[in-house]
Every structure is written in structure tokens, then in C-alpha cells.
Subunit: 154 residues, 2 copies
DNA sequence: GGCGAATATCTTGCTGAGCGAGATGATAGG
DNA sequence: CCTATCATCTCGCTCAGCAAGATATTCGCC
């Protein structure tokens, strides 16, 4: 009994382990989605980044997409070729700056993603429905803290 | 007003989004670890699986490792060749069944992993230190539920 | 005990994602 | 206009992972 506020000694480590296991499982879930649609993990990451940008109301150019995913220009071109060939995105020449190529997601990709990830999202929301403000704040603070710690590791 | 106990309408969705962002950030963190040590993402996943097995007191054979990672036998052999060449694991012929090859992690790999992931783990534990039992239970139940939902998607 | 089926790993040859270097097309500054 | 710069694409290559088959070991059956 040396921890003044900690309720159980190994409980925290157990939760850290559980977060890692959850991360792994979500990764496998994405991999299944990719495999089932003849895609690669990078393609799924690209679609997620594109949809995030769209939700934020931002344009995503080819170069920026490559930067987010850590690809060089050649790999980015090949990626967009794959996605465009699969009918999931389209290239649109930049209006203001005609050097740029803006990548837009087709509705089909959004539907595809929602059909696969929708149930998981709904289930997650349902899991949170039984929580009070105090508990939601704890979950939010924990995830935010871990995310910042992981990002802070340079 | 349709949610009887839900405290805020969009708060749940926000947390789901936050979990995904955290997952992405943890993946990037692993990728940095891999890149910094001249490894590939699969190599890191393999080391994690090996250390998990060791902590659970189980032996990890080459075939089982490949199964966990979703590789076929050829890819598994190449993976173990890489890790062995880097001095991170060693092959040990099975004692009871001499067809098997048991993969054991070298101490060096454990130290390497701890040096990189240790601070993140410690920070996570610290984040949980301020939580009471009620909040810890909420975090645990949420993560467990999401993990099961992701795994349940076949 | 010995023989054939089953099991675990390794070898060979190939496909394709991603990298480095450089070409092509578009814009801005003098 | 002419050059420097920027965004993207093309070419040639490397290497992770797959499919198929070779090799070594064990187990069941007679």
C-alpha cells in the first residue's frame, strides 16, 4: 500500500496492455477491409486521410497526401494510380494553381468504408452511452494523453 | 431528447474519433522505431508478438509467429532471417519435436524496445494514476468492448 | 520395427509496393 | 520573355511477401 491515490497496483499496466491489444485488433480489422477489397494497408490509410480532410473541409493534394503517409512522390503517384484505377478517388487539376492535383474521394469509397466501419463505430458509441460525464472525461483525457505522448516521441 | 443517460450528443463520436487518431499515432510511433533501427513494420510486430509470448511463458515457433502475423512460410523464414541477422532473435531447434524452430528474443531486443516504448508506457501509467476505480472501469470496459467488436468483424 | 501420411521449416522464382533520380509541365519574379 | 522554383509524373531498381515445391522430422498403423 504505497500508492496514495492509485486504486490497484497492476490495473494501470493492464489497461496500457489492453490499449495496445485494441490497437492491434483495429489494425487487423483495417487489414481485413483492405484484403477483402483487393487493397493494401497504405491504400486504406490514404482513404482515411482523404476522408478526414474532406470532413475538415480541406483540399488534399497528391503531394500533401504523400507527406501524410510518408511516401515519396513516386510512391504517391503509384498509390493514386491504384486508387483511381479502383474507382475510389479521382484526380482534379487545381483551379488556382494548375500544377497541383487535388485528390477527391468518390462516393463509392465513402459507402464502402461506412459499410465496413459503420457497425464498429456504432458499437463504440453504444459502449459509451452508459458512461457519465466523469467517465467520459477520463477516457478522453487518457486517449488524448497517450496520443500526445506518442506524437511527442518525435 | 432521445438519449436517456447520454450526457452529450456528439461527445461519444468525438471519443471514437479520438481513439482512431490515437491508434494512428501509436502506429506512427512504431514506424519511427522501425525506421530508426533499420527495421520494417512487420519486424516490429514480430518482436511484440515474441515478447508477449515470452511474458505469457509460451514458446513461439516459426510457424506460429507467421500465423499470428498473417505471413506464409516463405515470408516467415525471411522475417526470422532478418531478425536473426540483426541479432535481435535466435533460432533454437525444438527439444521435444526437432522439426520445430523456437524463436527466442535476445536481451538486446528487449532493451531496445524498452528504451523506445518504456517512456510511453510510463507516461500512460502516470495518466491513469489520477483516476478512481469508477473511471478505470469505464476505460477498461470501453477498450475491451471496442477490441471485441473489431475482432468480431470476422 | 518399418513404411507412408502428416507436419514444420526452408528454397526457388516471381509479383508488386515504394525509393532515388531525373523529366515534364505550370507559376512567379526580374 | 526567361529563368528559378514547385508539383507531379516516369524510369529503373530493391526488397518484402506469395505460391509451389524440396527437405527433414514425427506419428499412426500394421
Amino acid at each position: 500500500m504505497s500508492t496514495p491515490s492509485g486504486p490497484a497496483p497492476g490495473a494501470a499496466l493492464e489497461i496500457v496492455h489492453l490499449l495496445r491489444a485494441t490497437t492491434v485488433e483495429l489494425g487487423l480489422h483495417s487489414a481485413r477491409f483492405a484484403h477483402r477489397n483487393g487493397m493494401h494497408p497504405t491504400d486504406v490509410r490514404a482513404l482515411i486521410a482523404l476522408m478526414d480532410a474532406r470532413r475538415a473541409g480541406e483540399e488534399m493534394s497528391a503531394g500533401r497526401l504523400g507527406g501524410v503517409l510518408g511516401l515519396n512522390s513516386a510512391g504517391t503517384t503509384a498509390l493514386v494510380d491504384r486508387l483511381e484505377g479502383a474507382g475510389l478517388v479521382r484526380r482534379v487539376r487545381g483551379e488556382r494553381d494548375r500544377r497541383r492535383v487535388v485528390i477527391e474521394v468518390e462516393d463509392r469509397a465513402v459507402e464502402l468504408g461506412w459499410a465496413f466501419f459503420g457497425p464498429l463505430i456504432e458499437r463504440s458509441v453504444e459502449l459509451l452511452r452508459g458512461c457519465d460525464d466523469h467517465q467520459l472525461a477520463a477516457i478522453r483525457d487518457f486517449l488524448t494523453g497517450v496520443r500526445e505522448a506518442a506524437a511527442g516521441g518525435r
